[in-house]
Structure formats: structure tokens, C-alpha cells
């Protein structure tokens, strides 16, 4: 170019063109190194992309604006976190039982935020198109934000309650936490397109209202100002992540017809994988919140059955149908939370949060929300266990449960059409028999057996002697679970004792 001449008369760029110059315009096709060496993971999943430039940026955010908005949100969030700590905000929650939802969140969900950060960094490096790469990088740093701000938000609770003290360590070892852990490692170990289908679409777009939101709404309903402030602060990030999820699906579907069956299979897989993970949320919503937001069944109806219908109608023009086994999930909605909470009640000796039996008032609520199932199937169980407790014979399940090889949840779920019969499925692979909780989990295994035979199944590992020792106490020590403090029922726990003292002190002051 010759800079001596005045710039030729050209039209000024539109905002969209300007954004393109500031993002995808930065990329180039390499010539000193072959493109397939620079981007080695572009093809191996079988997804065909003919024109990366057809990618529509789901949001237009340059780094100057990103830094500015995010810094503003961080300033506000940390001001609230500090004020919460200074004023002992934990005293204002509805009841100390609520904190158990936070324990589940910090040990089960926050580590996933970190995994998402690394997963998006991977895709943010390896997608061929610079536009989607930038969207992924922004999500990568957002997810780091969420992991870090959650740790900072919960830090105050950790000072006063048990079970929050070693989240990462527990996430990697404790039996029920292998459910979320294996879910996310399944996604991160997949190729970049499947990762985005799994996390951006299935998890963030389709299911986020059933995962992230119930925890945050639970915080709002139960007086937890710190956590709900985090939730509000993350909301605009989540909105960006959701638009990325929808955009990547549409992009793959529009690029080549041959992508449709691949994407459909991923949607089927990740719907079921995500739904199984939500089993933990279902019990949180129905049993762990002292003040409930809505029942699991209501949430499922609103956020999956209704919202999902609209979404999949919209995607049907690409040849995409609703995820396989969605009807099984709907059949299970009246029993899921009860089956799961009962299991944790059975294994309270090995959980890093407290359990309890629902009070009479809570059972009345559950009867109202689950008129067809609760009184018939689950109330009698709770009443029986309550009787046993009163006689000083609290029921513990002393045997380790069989786990589903895919979702790693104990085999506690029941036949889709018969809630009184446990559902068992199995398949043989290379001379070994593998067990599953459902057709959904079996299908996932059978499509990629080489992947799932690698599953690190906590119960198998305990029996093989890889978890600290042969006695339960050895295993719990290996989990870093403080025996007699983190585990067992809420009643009689150090959490309860202190909470009652704090409340007594407060009411004494009030005179």
C-alpha cells in the first residue's frame, strides 16, 4: 500500500463489519504450517463445515467492553460478599438445613464450572473459525469467573458450617460426586463439536433452568443473599452462553445435511446424561430447601416439557427430533426426587451433607405436589424409617450399591411403567457384563463401549482397595470427610447444635 495517498473514499463500516474486523478478521490461513496441523481436531468427529465465515456471532462483545462490564459486576458482587461476611449473613437464612444445598453445589457443581473453563479453552483454541473461537474463549474465562466467585461466595459459609471444606478433593473421590465429575469429563474428553453440543446446547441451553437456576432461586427463597447475588451477577454471562449453544447447533445443522444424524445422536446422549445428573437437583428442590421454590415435577413440566417442545419444534425444520427417551424422563418426574433422597438417607454415613426425614408439614407439601405417587409409594417408607428412628434403630444401608456404568448413579431407578420394580439393564462387551440403570444409559454405553469401560466406578474402586482401605472409616478419611461432622443426619450434627445456639443468642438479644 502507499500511505502517501489520502485514504480512498470508502464507506464507513457498519457495526457488524467493524466487529468482524476486530474478531474473525484477525485470523489467517497458515501457510508455513499446514492448517490441519494447526487445527488437528477439526474433522475427526465427522462434522463437515464448508464455510466457517457463515458463523453468525451470537453476541458482539469486544474486549474493552467485556473488561468494563465484567469489572463493574465484580465490584458489586464482592461488595455484597464482604458485607455478607461482615454482618454474619449466614444467620439470616431460613434454616441451617438449607446449607446442605450449598454443600451439594460447591462439591458437585463448582468444580464443573472449572472443567467448563478448561473445556472451552480447548475449543477456543481448536475451532478453525476465529469467530466461534472467540465466543468460546469468552465463555472459557466466564466459567473461570463462576468457579472462583462461587468459591469466594461460599468461603464465609465454610467458616461456619461443615461439609464445605474440601470441595475439589471430594469431587474427585466421593462416590456420588463421580456422577457430575464423569458427566463433565465425558464432555471434555469428546471432540470440540460434541463438547459444544453437550455443554453449550444440552446443558446450558436446554437444561440450565433445571440446574443452575433452582440453586439460585433456592438461595433467594431461603435468605441466602450472597449466593443469590452471585446468581444475578452470572445471569448475563449465562444468557451469552445460551445463545452460543443455540448458534452452534444451528451452524452445524446448516453446514451439511450429513451432520444432522451426528448431532441428533449427541442430543440424545447429552439429554439423557444431563437428565440423570439432574436427579441430584430434583432431591435438592423437593427435600433439601426449607422454603421450596416449586416441585421437581413442576420444574420439569415448565422448563423441559413446555420450553423443550417449543425448541424442538423450531429445530424440526433441520430434521432434528426431540431427544430419545424424553418420555421416560416425564414418566419419572413423579418419583425421581423421592427415589434419590431415600437413597441418600440410606447412605447418610457416607455423604458430605446431612440428611433428614421430611417433617409432617413437608410430607403434606409433597402429597400435594405428587398426588399420584407420594402417599402411595413414598410416605409409607418415610413413616417406617421414622418409626425405626424413634425406636433408636435408624435405618442404614450397610451394603455398597451397584452403580450404572454410564451415569454412575446407584441402580435405584424404577421401570418406566412400574415405579415398584427396579430397572436393570445390562450388556456384554468383550466377555464382560456391564450394568445400567436405564435404556438411555445402556444405549450410550453401547455406542462408545471403549470409552465407558474406562469409567472409574467408586464402588468397584472401594472393593478393589483403591480408596484408602477396607473399612468405611478408611474410605471416608480418604474422601477427607470428617466423620461425625460432615456426615449423618442433620439432627444431632454440629451444624444443628451451633445453629440452635446462634438462634438462641439472637432471640436473647431481641428482648
Amino acid at each position: 500500500m502507499n500511505a502517501m495517498q489520502p485514504p480512498p473514499k470508502q464507506k464507513k463500516l457498519s457495526l457488524k463489519e467493524r466487529y468482524a474486523h476486530l474478531t474473525r478478521g484477525l485470523g489467517w490461513n497458515t501457510t508455513y504450517q499446514p492448517m490441519d496441523k494447526v487445527f488437528p481436531f477439526a474433522d475427526y468427529e465427522g462434522i463437515k463445515i464448508h464455510d466457517w465465515d457463515a458463523w453468525e456471532d451470537p453476541f458482539r462483545l469486544t474486549m474493552d467492553a467485556y473488561w468494563k462490564y465484567q469489572a463493574e459486576k465484580e465490584r458489586k458482587l464482592y461488595a455484597v460478599i464482604e458485607s455478607f461476611a461482615q454482618n454474619n449473613g449466614h444467620l439470616n437464612i431460613t434454616d441451617a438445613r438449607y446449607v446442605n444445598a450449598l454443600k451439594l453445589f460447591l462439591t458437585g457443581v463448582s468444580p464443573l464450572e472449572y472443567s467448563a473453563h478448561r473445556g472451552y479453552a480447548h475449543v477456543g483454541r481448536h475451532f478453525v473459525g476465529a469467530g466461534p473461537r472467540i465466543a468460546c474463549q469468552m465463555q472459557a474465562i466466564d466459567e473461570l469467573r463462576h468457579a472462583q466467585t462461587q468459591i469466594h461466595t461460599m468461603s464465609h459459609y465454610n467458616k461456619f458450617f461443615d461439609g464445605l471444606h474440601d470441595a475439589r478433593h471430594m469431587h474427585d473421590r466421593v462416590w456420588y460426586l463421580s456422577v457430575p465429575k464423569s458427566f463433565f469429563e465425558d464432555a471434555c474428553s469428546a471432540g470440540p463439536f460434541e463438547f459444544l453440543t453437550a455443554i453449550s446446547f444440552s446443558f446450558e441451553y436446554v437444561l440450565t433452568n433445571l440446574l443452575f437456576v433452582p440453586f439460585m432461586s433456592g438461595a433467594a427463597f431461603n435468605g441466602d443473599m450472597a449466593t443469590v447475588t452471585f446468581g444475578f451477577s452470572a445471569q448475563s454471562d449465562e444468557a451469552r452462553h445460551m445463545t452460543l449453544g443455540l448458534e452452534i447447533i444451528k451452524f452445524m445443522l446448516e453446514q451439511d445435511e450429513a451432520n444432522v444424524p451426528i448431532v441428533q445422536r449427541w442430543i440424545d446422549k447429552w439429554f439423557w446424561r444431563g437428565y440423570r445428573l439432574l436427579a441430584l437437583v430434583s432431591m435438592m428442590m423437593d427435600y433439601m430447601l426449607p422454603k421450596r421454590i416449586m416441585s421437581w415435577a413442576e420444574a420439569w413440566e415448565m422448563y423441559f416439557e413446555q420450553a423443550g417442545d417449543a425448541l424442538f419444534n423450531d429445530l424440526s425444520r433441520y430434521g432434528i427430533r426431540k431427544p430419545k427417551y424424553f418420555e421416560v424422563a416425564s414418566k419419572e418426574k413423579h418419583r425421581l426426587s423421592h427415589e434419590v433422597w431415600s437413597t441418600f438417607y440410606n447412605y447418610t454415613q457416607a455423604t458430605a451433607f446431612h440428611t433428614w426425614l421430611p417433617t409432617e408439614e413437608e410430607m403434606t407439601w409433597l402429597s400435594g405436589k405428587y398426588p399420584d405417587t407420594f402417599d402411595r409409594l413414598y410416605r409409607p417408607r418415610f413413616e417406617c424409617w421414622s418409626e425405626m428412628e424413634k425406636k433408636g434403630n435408624r435405618y442404614y444401608n450397610p451394603t455398597l450399591p451397584q452403580l450404572c456404568v454410564t451415569c454412575q448413579i446407584p441402580m435405584i431407578f424404577t421401570e418406566p411403567d412400574d415405579p415398584t420394580t427396579t430397572c436393570f439393564r445390562s450388556a456384554e462387551y468383550k466377555g464382560e457384563r456391564y450394568h445400567f440403570c436405564s435404556d438411555g444409559c445402556k444405549d450410550i454405553f453401547c455406542y462408545e463401549p471403549e470409552k465407558y469401560i474406562q469409567s472409574w466406578l467408586p464402588v468397584h474402586q472401594i472393593y478393589q482397595g483403591n480408596c484408602g482401605g477396607a473399612e468405611m472409616k478408611d474410605v471416608l478419611a480418604w474422601y477427607h470427610l470428617n466423620f461425625g461432622a460432615d456426615n449423618f443426619d442433620y439432627t444431632g450434627s454440629p451444624d444443628q447444635k451451633l445453629w440452635d445456639e446462634w438462634q438462641a443468642q439472637r432471640s436473647a438479644n431481641a428482648v
Partner: protein, 332 residues
Amino acid sequence: MTIEIKTNVIQPRRQTYGNVARRLGADKPASRYDESMFDLQATGVFHYRPTWAPEYELFDARRTAIVLADWHVLRDPRQYYYGTYTIARSRMMEAAEKSFSFAEKRQALTGIDADWTGKIHSYLLPLRHYEWGANMNNSQITDIGFGSAITEAAMFATMDRLGIAQLISRVGLILDGGTGTSLLAAKDAWMASPAWQPLRHAVEDMLVMPDWFELFVAQNLVFDGFIYPLVYRQFDQAGMAHGGAALSPLTEFMADWFEEISRWVDGVITAAGKESEANRDLLSGWTKAWTARAVEAVTPLAESVLGDGAAEAVAEIASQLGQRVRRLGLQA
């Protein structure tokens, strides 16, 4: 006199998380940096091998030849976590925005000599692609690096490089009246101009480098160690005689950033080198090899701007980098 607000005093049962207490050697109040940095990454017991690298675990220390007993020694001396990082950058950006709006409003860049404006087009604007390469390289370190200490800071560096690429592009958009022609020309130069090819060649070689720690050395220590002093100091100074002072406020962000990021780079290299002679040998070897490459890559660029003074300028930068590297305990 002091006033005293009466509050209920409630004794905390513990001061920090267990993993942090073990690292600090006692349960004592921990910084926000420590609480949100230590142990975020899983280090053992993985379920599935990545289908994209089945010879490794999802996170695997064997992805570099550097060996550390504890990867958390690669601390960030700036102690950035997401909150402090974004707040620091938004402050720097606030100052940059003032400079940009001044330059736009007063058309300050039109006062630069036409010759020199041409040089700015040709030496500064193609660097947006260099920055994009650095973005990809730091993204790679975030992806396959080991431990939350280094990967977290690499994530911040990833976004920094995108931000800087965008700032350079905005200079172009001021120079071309918001039409984007300067950016298209800069891309042509990056792709085809002989002066840029050795640098682009080196950047593309970095993009396929398997060892992420070597990549860290090549990109963040060596190449940045040449490009930043050369462009934002030497070229900037050379422009003063041609009215180029008007450009300086627009690249002040980069000069400040380089000073800041060097603290991180130096901290990481020092900690890794301190661990063993084997690490020091690796780091020294990489530094030497990439320094030779960088001299070769920036020389044509320096010649196009500084003419006869180029060799001396590059030699001076090389010598300063050598001093810096020796200060970090390596051989230059």
C-alpha cells in the same frame, strides 16, 4: 476517641478451605487469590482418556518436559483472580479510551508526518495478527497446561492478546477513517510482505509446538521480549522526530501491559528453573533457540523502520533480554 459498634461475635470454626490450609501449613485466613487458585484442576482419578489425545489423561503433567513436584509453585506474582484481573484491565482501558476519544475528536493522528504514518501502517497494524497468534498460544497453554496456577493466568493472557489485537485494529480504523482498508492492507502485508514473513513463519511454528512450556518461553518470554521493546519503545521513539508522539498514548496500554505481564512471565520462569538443573537446562536451551529465531524474525521489521540503526537496536534488545534471562537464573 473511637466509636465502637456492638455486634454479636461469632467464632468461625475454620479460617479457610482444607486444601488451602494444607498448602499454607495452617488453618489461617487466606487471600482470595489462594482460595480461588489452589487445586481447582483435577489431578488424579480421571474417567476417560480424551479422544483427541488418548495417550494422555485429560490433564497431564507429561505434556511438557519441565518437571515440577508441585505445579502450584508457578504462582502469579500479580495474584490475579478473575475479579482483580478484570478490574485492573478495565482501569487500563479507561485511560486508553480517553486517549482514543481524544485522538478521534482532535484528529490528532493527522498531524503525524505522512512518511511516518505510512510506517505506522506497515509496522504496527500487521501486529494484530501477531497478537492473535499469541492469543492462540496462550489459549493452548490454558488448554493443556498443568495446574490451575499457570493455566488461570494463561487464560487472562489469552484475553489480553485479543484485547491488544483489537486496540491495534482500532488505531487502523482511526487512520483509515473507519473503513477497514488499512486492516485489509495489514493482513496482506502479514501474509505476503517479505519483511513480515520470518515473523509469521515463527508464529506458525509456535502454533504447532507440542510442549506447552516451551511455547510459554518462545511466545511470552522471547518473542514478546523482542517485539514489545522494539515496537512500543524503539519505533515509538524513532517516530518522535516525525510527529509520532500523537500515536504514543494509543499504544500506552501495550507498554504498561508488557511491564505488568513480564512480572508474571519472570515469576513462572524463575519458579520452574529453581526446581532443578534439568529444568534450567531446558529453559536455557529453549530461550537460546528462540532468541536466535526472534533476532532473525524481527530484523527485517527493524530495518524497514529504523534503517541503518536496526542492527544496533535489535542487538540492544537482545542484550537486555539476555540480562533479564540471567536474572531469572538461566543462561542466555
